[in-house]
Amino acid sequence: MNRRAFVNLFLGGSILGTVVSFLYPVIRYLIPPGQAEAVVKRTLAAKIGELAPNSARFFRFGSTAAVLVNTADGQLRAFSAVCTHLTCTVNYESDTGTLFCPCHNGRFDLSGNVLSGPPPRPLEAYEVEISGDDIYVSKKA
């Protein structure tokens, strides 16, 4: 390697190194830091008597939305309300007794299974327990 090639390589490498050393902190700065979230496994969803048969209540479960359904025959069921297609929040349709996502017309039955539309997976089902007057919903073990 002659002297000119060495100087070109040395200067070129230095410039590259400088650019990388400037870019690296900027790129790291742009990536959001992971924030530890409190993991919520159980939450109070409603009080006994608040939910008429064939109706639903939406509530906050951790950082996402969940739904508690009182079916027409009086059974309490709870699910994640986040559609498994593209994460819109589902609605409860009392006339069909199904959970419906209005974003892309996905439909789920009251076991969380997909009835129609594009959702690829069932809704995550939660456990429902009654303690006194309170209805608690918790993630399945």
Binding site: P32, F59, H85, L86, V90, C101, P102, H104, P120
Partner: protein
């Protein structure tokens, strides 16, 4: 008056070489033929972009980019600030009209094969501007923090999330965390008022420089044509188009001021009848129709890959259409263009005419 003008010009001339710019503008010619109507859409895009910048700067005076105050600040602009409703309506309406005009400009350039050498980079910068203005639309839509925009952002970022390999990183970067939250609003605001304008200004500059340097493309098969001077003839015709657009925007804003909508509640049901801005509806309806699984792959992944490949094809068309590059007609590419345009029009129409499709 004329003495002042002469004195001012005499002062500016050695400093800015105004005569050179004037000479260039008057010597520059624009071909006139049966398709030259389509040339005006580029100028209309530029005009609407300038309106966007000016009204955007005005909106910044009262808008607050935080979850607690964004919606309230937009309501304040609409109801309390004098002519706030007008400034915001002009901003929102021109944004929508601008994207429509960009689509017209792009398809007219496509069908006239204006991407032929040496104008490949003019086409590519134009395509990048389409992407930038779609990003402007997507990021600006969230800023009022209303119900529709909240869920549209959820869906839009989730679509980005299904891109193989990089999707999750892109989604986290866009959201600023795992969910649509205050961090997302801050990021979208940052993109909308700082990053995208910087890129847009740079690429618009290159695009215009290329158009000025290379001149207007003449369609294949059109030989010698009449020419008009760029300044003042073409510019005056352009200005007439701008005035018409301005009148349309003014009328629409007065009769249909842009709505604010109810404030977003992340834990409530998605409102029925939700749909994104019109220019994303062809993708929205496609996602309704794609089955959950195609073979073993999730339908939405295939749909998103299809859109990405379609976009890549459009961007690279100057290098793919070899017949047009040799100044020969290329009916295959015209047919592909017609198919893409029809697909977009039909899917957009279905969104509004058959909202229950796939239900």
């Amino acid at each position: 008056m004329s003495r002042w003008k002469e004195k001012t010009l005499a002062y500016l001339e050695p400093r800015f070489k105004i005569s050179a710019i004037r000479d260039f503008a008057s010597k520059k010619k624009v071909p006139e033929h049966k398709h030259s109507f389509w040339y005006f859409f580029g100028g209309i895009c530029l005009f609407l972009f300038v309106i966007q910048v000016l009204t955007g700067i005005l909106l910044l005076l009262y808008y607050t980019p935080s979850v607690d105050a964004a919606h309230e600040s937009v309501q304040f602009i609409m109801s309390q600030v004098k002519f706030g409703w007008l400034i915001r309506s002009v901003h929102s309406w021109t944004a929508n009209i601008l994207i429509g005009v960009i689509f017209v400009h792009m398809f007219s350039a496509f069908f006239l094969k204006a991407y032929r050498p040496p104008r490949e980079l003019t086409w590519i910068t134009g395509f990048l501007l389409l992407l930038i203005f779609l990003a402007f639309g997507f990021s600006g839509y969230l800023l009022p923090w209303n119900e529709l925009s909240f869920f549209a952002t959820r869906v839009g970022t989730d679509i980005a999330g299904v891109i193989p390999l990089v999707g999750k990183a892109v989604k986290t970067f866009m959201l600023g965390g795992p969910e649509v939250s205050g961090a997302t609003l801050t990021r979208f605001f940052w993109l909308h008022v700082a990053v995208l304008p910087a890129f847009a200004l740079g690429i618009v500059g290159i695009h215009i420089l290329l158009v000025q340097t290379l001149g207007m493309s003449k369609p294949i098969g059109i030989g010698e044509t009449k020419e008009i001077s760029f300044f003042p003839d073409f510019i005056l015709k352009d200005a007439l188009g701008w005035l018409i657009i301005l009148a349309v925007v003014g009328a629409v804003c007065v009769f249909l001021p842009w709505e604010t909508g109810p404030k977003a509640n992340p834990y409530a049901s998605t409102p029925l009848g939700i749909k994104p801005e019109w220019y994303f509806t062809f993708m929205f309806t496609t996602l309704k129709l794609v089955p959950a699984h195609i073979f073993t792959i999730e339908g939405e992944v295939l749909a998103v890959l299809g859109f990405l490949l379609g976009g890549l094809f459009l961007m690279l068309v100057p290098f793919l259409d070899r017949r047009a590059a040799r100044e020969k007609k290329s009916p295959v590419f015209t047919a592909i263009g017609v198919a893409v345009a029809l697909y977009i029009v039909i899917m957009t129409a279905l969104t509004y005419l058959a909202p229950d499709i796939g239900k």
